[in-house]
Symmetry: C2
Subunit: 382 residues, 2 copies
């Protein structure tokens, strides 16, 4: 090895081994990881084409189908965080010029607008004030006005804590020949979802909320109708990493190498789904509902109010109104610095107006609520 | 919670806790993870906007700058595996219609061709038989013929084990006003790289090879010249997840939320880079060189020959010619099934002709060589 170039050391750091604080993560995600999941993730990796790993991919698929309540064959995990899975649904369903109708009732609806535009969609939007949801009539009117190829809705708006009711939306889309795409980032594992019953064609989620994993591998599913649109494209999917034609050959029987999967994240995901299956998905949903009701009650006991109407509140994420005269950011910072408790602030229209409190996956427990209420009692002005 | 839809259990599995085999990973990656890195990854996550995590991001940047030998401010990790970082370089540098000249001397050159095409590039290629490399004259002639905006080369071709010499390429690109983009997936941490001295404008890598991490967070760097082209774009980057304009606001002083980073993968990456820094990057390169020479010698002792001319062989990945009459796939499968040793097969032009043997990161040790040679001795016909 000939090497005549001198080594630059100006960026060389002298670091100590990793030493991170132990936080109670009650923000919009990531949430705390179930200890069994953390242990599974800590298993030394095998190769991405190892027969044992290919078998694990099949297990992940089946369990995701169960947790999402779908029989979609194209049910996989994308090798990135939730936003990558979001982009995968858009990249694979949108062809340039397609009219895409997006329901914007918060930050993540706007993200879909930006993304769909980048893939050449003719984007149309309907909007609601942040914290509200669309009625079936709202959607019907918008569909009749815009005649889209795709309707995209956020089932669980992480920025507002609102749950978009899905009853009847699928029938409406089928009637007009529209693909239905939904964001289940903050609902999978914590909020009842029935993808097939609801007639959903594309959905995505993440690992670090209801599934209690670290972030890094993100569920994606496409119905036969969505796959048909993909197969009939006249142009290549404008994204190589997320192209479901290629991903499908790795996840399917061909097992063609596409990219190196984040092996340990899949270990975590498999263990997470195993735990949910063991608990039973319906019990998991009920646990989230029960604990969030305890949260609301406890916060009301402190004199706080919730931003979203009770009927539409998510069991996984609650937006809590910051009382007048209170510096919400300073309170959140004190919780973190003094008590190792993370809660989230508001985004967009709700910036400075709400805190976002997550009770997701492993953290959906009465102890989380008690811990938060105790520290809030200490930092809120009497 | 009203719930009248019956729960489908047809996809519900009854799984046991995770139980994966313990492999010696001597293929093209992933490689075995250093135990200290696995331990760091096992730390409970904090939030992606936690001040301690933002500080960790800064540490990752500095250490990547050191390991890559660059002062590029835009040095980050992408929240996906190596292919995502590859796509990030293309997505952020290519505008529709740009002439992009790609050196294809193996599988990953072809991947760049496919990707660049998806982002609207006018792709031109120069090719070499798999296992060979381009001379400076080859490159000069091609540049004068095609007059590209970007020249993309694979520094370490993972499919062939060949190292593309970089001396003089940067000067050539500067002379013609071309951005130089290189693939360092199989070189970062194991093969001498001097990004700034070489005049490289865009580079990407992965975590699961020379850095001895699991896959999942992937280094990306862009020079001031590359950033200038990005800032002068007339269209948005056609990829939301990988848009460096947005990523830069999360990694930069603004700390604007973009996506949820795969926290634990960054823990692993930080620990990996800390270990390399502790060893000293030049010592790390020398270790890889020394151990691969021991590998070549040992394999030659078994009567095997290498596919690539010695001068251009990578210290991280060796292509070994499969002797005539031997079923290479069957041998690799026996190594895996009977001895828990993974080696890779050939891709594309080299399918069935070579095995790919990686000695990367933590696995670049004499014990790895001894172990492989011992098991090869047992499975190869006498």
């Amino acid at each position: 090895m000939s090497q005549t170039i001198p080594i630059k050391t100006n960026n060389k750091l002298n670091l100590q081994p990793l030493n991170m604080p132990n936080r109670l993560l009650l923000g919009p995600g990531p949430s705390n990881v179930h200890p069994a999941i953390l242990a599974a993730m800590n298993t030394p990796p095998v190769g991405h084409l190892d027969p044992t790993f290919l078998n694990l991919m099949d297990e992940v698929r089946s369990q995701l189908q169960y947790v999402w309540q779908t029989d979609n064959q194209m049910t996989i995990a994308v090798s990135g965080t939730g936003t990558a899975a979001m982009e995968a649904t858009i990249a694979n369903s949108v062809e340039p010029g397609d009219i895409v109708l997006i329901g914007v009732m918060g930050y993540f609806g706007n993200r879909l607008v930006d993304m769909a535009g980048r893939y050449g969609a003719d984007v149309r939007t309907i909007t609601k004030p942040w914290g509200q949801v669309f009625s079936l009539d709202d959607l019907k009117t918008a569909i009749e006005t815009h005649r889209p190829r795709i309707l995209a809705l956020v089932h669980a708006e992480t920025s507002t804590g609102a749950r978009q009711p899905m009853e009847g939306v699928g029938e409406l889309c089928q009637k007009y020949g529209i693909l239905l795409l939904i964001d289940t980032v903050t609902s999978l594992g914590g909020v009842p979802i029935f993808l097939d019953e609801w007639g959903v064609d594309l959905a995505y989620s993440c690992s670090q909320k209801g599934l209690a994993c670290p972030p890094g591998a993100s569920p994606l599913t496409m119905s036969a109708r969505a796959m048909e649109k993909l197969q009939n494209r006249s142009s290549k999917v404008a994204n190589w990493y997320l192209d479901v034609n290629l991903l499908g050959k790795y996840w399917g029987s061909e097992r063609v190498y596409h990219h190196t999967a984040p092996i340990n994240m899949y270990y975590a995901l498999r263990e997470s789904l195993r735990l949910i299956t063991e608990e039973g998905i319906e019990n998991c949903w009920q646990r989230h509902q029960k604990n969030v009701e305890y949260l609301w009650e406890s916060l009301e006991g402190l004199g706080l109010t919730m931003h979203v109407e009770k009927e539409y509140r998510l069991p996984t994420l609650t937006t809590v109104c910051i009382p007048p005269g209170i510096d919400g950011k300073a309170i959140a910072r004190r919780l973190l610095d003094e008590y190792n408790v993370e809660i989230g602030g508001g985004l967009g229209e709700l910036a400075g107006k709400v805190w976002r409190v997550g009770l997701m996956g492993y953290n959906s427990r009465p102890e989380s609520v008690d811990n938060l209420v105790e520290v809030l009692r200490q930092v809120l002005p009497k």
